[in-house]
């Protein structure tokens, strides 16, 4: 079995299984802890607060916008960019279509893919260099933050390196890093891509019940 067949075949299946099961286990584990019963009479709906809290935190608030501009632009640039790359890159759609889903959808044209990559890379690099040059982020960052950033960066970079599609080895390196990333994901802070809705939602519930989600 060639290296590419290994990392795209059995190893990928294993990594994907770890990713799905691990992420589910962790999400269920958090929810299962449960909340103490709130005996105060509700002023408004907690469920509406859950949704409102989730939506409201997508939008930065004016009073902080200037001070957190780098985070907002870098963060949105990276996350939206990565989302577009993962789900609308033509090779990704082909891979998902052939290996997992069995259907496909329109892909980004190549120029848009490259532009999106540039935005996503810029965002990720900005966020990480801020992490190493801001005393606040230096203080609160741990190994997991750096490993997560670098692993994601390397996955993206190896994907960019493989763009010519001329060498199986480059595609293989990209897939190997993807496998490592998938396995690392459920045990790390990369899980924030799923836990964010719990966090926003639960504080939305608490304050929604008090009628105070703004």
């Amino acid at each position: 079995m060639s290296f590419l067949n290994l990392v795209e075949g059995p190893l990928f299946t294993f990594a994907a299984a770890v990713f799905v099961l691990g992420a589910l286990w962790r999400l269920i584990g958090i929810i299962r802890i449960g909340r103490a019963k709130d005996i105060s009479p509700p002023k408004a709906s907690a469920a509406a607060g859950f949704i409102k809290g989730n939506l409201r935190h997508f939008f930065p608030r004016g009073i902080f916008a200037k001070r957190t501009m780098v985070h907002i632009i870098g963060g949105y640039g990276f996350h939206l960019g990565l989302f577009m790359l993962v789900f609308f890159g033509v090779y990704h759609i082909d891979f998902l279509n052939e290996r997992i889903l069995g259907f496909s959808w329109p892909a980004l044209p190549r120029w848009a893919f490259l532009l999106t990559s540039a935005v996503a890379f810029s965002g990720l690099i900005t966020l990480w260099v801020r992490r190493i040059s801001d005393p606040v982020m230096q203080l609160i960052s741990d190994k997991d933050d750096h490993i997560g950033s670098w692993l994601t960066f390397l996955v993206m970079l190896s994907g960019c390196f493989a763009l010519e599609q001329a060498h199986d080895s480059l595609r293989g390196v990209h897939m190997l890093l993807v496998d490592i990333w998938l396995i690392y994901f459920p045990f790390s802070r990369l899980m924030h891509s799923f836990t964010f809705f719990l966090s926003r939602g639960q504080s939305g519930m608490t304050y929604g019940r008090k009628g105070k989600v703004r």
Partner: protein, 343 residues
């Protein structure tokens, strides 16, 4: 965009072919600039080289009809109606005999000189020791702009070096296949990160241009050789060395950016000589910046105590400021830098 990347490559292939044709077709006229055999890939491991493209008969007159330009004139324009010029040959000679052969040594030499300097002079300490009190030097946004540029610069520097020197540095040791893989990867990475460099350059310029204009006081710095060989030099927020590096990055960066865009989108220019000039200027500018960047890294890290703080914490020790940027210290604090220097 995909196809345009390839057209550059086709252009390179065509240039090689042109050179070979020219070499065979005009043996007398081209004698003075005729490359040696190894420059035309005859003994680099490729078995069936493009020499067969010539056919069995070398038809001098046939090819002469396509080829124009005066080979003794540097970068002569192609005469009307001619598709081949002598400039491709000259371009290739510059690339093979000068750029690929010598340019890669520039960073190595700089590293060597720095190592010697470090061993002889050692790191520059804060002579008065750290005071424990700090002054803000670079804002967070300036630091982020700096490190963003640094990150993009490293990626582009490494991939660019592989593209330029892979054939002479990697291929002989790791083999042609490995070089091909690395070059393919580097090419894609370089093309993707290139436009990000332009963004980084603009960002860096906006954040650092203030205080970086040359002043009369910089002359003193030059006469004292920057204090690297002893003596005290006065300077404001940025000294002559820092200013020079800033403008090198900005001006060199503009050259690299413009030539890079031309190479990414070859359709932008009509005359092939712009592309040839671009590859040369791109390599010269990039290697110069990479070489000097090692000096910048040296002074910013192990070469000078207390420098790195300005880019990691944004604050520098007061004694560091007094010793290296006394006039800036006085401007910022309103105190004299001399008074407390000798207790």
């Amino acid at each position: 965009m995909h196809n345009q990347f390839y057209s550059l490559r086709n252009f390179l292939k065509l240039s090689v072919l042109m050179l070979m044709l020219a070499a065979f077709a005009a043996p007398v006229a081209a004698q003075s600039v005729r490359p040696p055999g190894n420059a035309v890939n005859l003994d680099d491991g490729i078995e069936d080289g493009p020499s067969n493209a010539l056919g069995d008969v070398s038809d001098t007159e046939f090819w002469d009809n396509f080829r124009g330009g005066n080979p003794s004139e540097l970068f002569a324009p192609a005469p009307e109606g001619q598709v081949m010029t002598t400039t491709g040959q000259q371009w290739r000679m510059i690339r093979e005999k000068f750029i690929r052969k010598y340019l890669g040594w520039a960073p190595v030499i700089v590293i060597g000189l720095l190592a010697v300097f470090y061993l002889v002079r050692g790191p520059m300490k804060i002579t008065a020791g750290r005071s424990g009190k700090t002054l803000p030097r670079f804002t967070l946004s300036a630091r982020v702009a700096h490190w963003f540029m640094a990150g993009v610069f490293i990626i582009l520097g490494l991939t660019g070096m592989i593209i330029l020197l892979g054939r002479v540095v990697i291929a002989p040791y790791l083999g042609l296949e490995a070089n091909s893989v690395l070059t393919s990867a580097a090419m894609q990475g370089h093309n993707l990160f290139g436009p990000i460099f332009i963004f980084a350059l603009i960002w860096l310029f906006i954040k650092f241009v203030r205080g970086n204009f040359f002043q009369w006081i910089d002359l003193k710095w030059i006469f004292k050789l920057g204090g690297f060989f002893g003596g005290h030099v006065s300077s404001r927020q940025f000294n002559f060395g820092e200013k020079t590096w800033f403008w090198m990055v900005i001006l060199g960066g503009i050259v690299i950016s413009v030539t890079g865009v031309i190479m990414l989108f070859p359709g932008l220019v009509e005359d092939v000589r712009w592309l040839q000039l671009s590859t040369i200027l791109h390599a010269l500018g990039a290697v110069a910046l990479i070489a000097v960047a090692f000096g910048h890294i040296y002074v910013g890290t192990i070469g000078m105590e207390g420098s790195i703080d300005s880019m990691l914490k944004g604050e520098v020790d007061e004694n560091w400021a007094k010793e290296h940027h006394d006039l800036w210290y006085e401007e910022v604090t309103g105190k004299s830098a001399k008074e407390e220097e000798t207790p």
